[in-house]
Symmetry: C2
Subunit: 248 residues, 2 copies
Amino acid sequence: MNETVQLLLNHRSVRKLKDEPLSPDVIRTLVEAAQMASTSSFVQAYSIMGITDRPKKEALAKLAGNQPYVAENGHFFVFCADFHRHIQAGEMEQTEVKPAVESAEKMIVAVTDAALAAQNCSIAAESMGLGICYIGGLRNNIAEVSNLLQLPNYVIPLFGLAVGVPEADPDRKPRLPVEGVYFENVYPDAEVHAEQLKAYNDTISAYYKERTGGSRSDRWTEQVSGLLKDVKRPHMKQFLEDKGYNRH
Amino acid sequence: MNETVQLLLNHRSVRKLKDEPLSPDVIRTLVEAAQMASTSSFVQAYSIMGITDRPKKEALAKLAGNQPYVAENGHFFVFCADFHRHIQAGEMEQTEVKPAVESAEKMIVAVTDAALAAQNCSIAAESMGLGICYIGGLRNNIAEVSNLLQLPNYVIPLFGLAVGVPEADPDRKPRLPVEGVYFENVYPDAEVHAEQLKAYNDTISAYYKERTGGSRSDRWTEQVSGLLKDVKRPHMKQFLEDKGYNRH
């Protein structure tokens, strides 16, 4: 197994990072690595914000639900879906591109493009011995985040990425069994899923038991049901439409 | 610069792959690498289909707009947004999770999760000397693709990923300038974008001129305007809603 595969298999999210800025060279390399990810039809439909301003980082940490590692880290990125520059490109070429950009299809494109880039950035960081943590909590108060970063229409702050020297070494969390996620040729029926979910519940219960000396033994199905019993971030659909995405 | 960063910076999509199946061990490692990507609140909201059945691969190649590398490759994956197993988890736990799953927020979660996993899979493949190419063309006829793979509600085939031994060595395509994609603290105004777009147009024109002995000299703004002048895949919004996504 080569070094890169080992690195990928060894991932864990790190929620305690040294509060010491990364060098501009490192940041540039991370952005360049992000940019080399595949992009749908070469549209490159994303932007990457880097937050270095201390009050802004503190404000983001608060907006993300008081997550201290949003403020305390080596660097904080915000990955954005971005068709703003394509609207501008259309103006330069006297072409009306808004109807296409405003389609649900192009939202899928932009979210995918941004995520592929972010994952390259994460892996580059981890290959340098840095720790990373994605921050979906930015969507808790997405309009406020958008205002704080002065994002115009056609730019959506999707998630943050905290990067820095790790100050914790969390456990590697076991994923769903391969047989519960990967299927050949035909999607399996409910019984197959039920079997995999039960096996996985045992794995996850054992994982928590071992970590907590027996005080926690959550099932995965219990965790995700708890997480999904309430509608979170009900503002997302309206926000997307307001910003020019997902309109038709 | 370490080996992994070099690998990331050296990416190119390969559209000619050897038609020789990858070994089950390699496929398993690629899936395991995919699974270790970060996932929002540990929901793991995706599935990975592997297509080994020849007639199915041929059918997908046709549905994707006659792209031969969908059928001819070492392995063909389809990455799907998937909250189907969470609905099942909810049933196991007597919890109603559909209202949350059907929100636009959870569509963003599932698309992001699937893309992060796919990018890990791609990087693992490239680290083994394999070539990869993402196939967004599956969304051209997404309902037919969904039927072919017998995907139930709450499963969306987002894109394919062809993997295999490369039979071509395409050029590395220059991305937007770092200064046109990465911004610190504040999103820049239109003049900054215009400047970056002009510089990038020169880069891309030079790239095509050199590759074609002068017969092509497309500007990037011209390419993306051409691509975005028509609404493509206008069925996406309805399809997403029909399958239980993006409803509110």
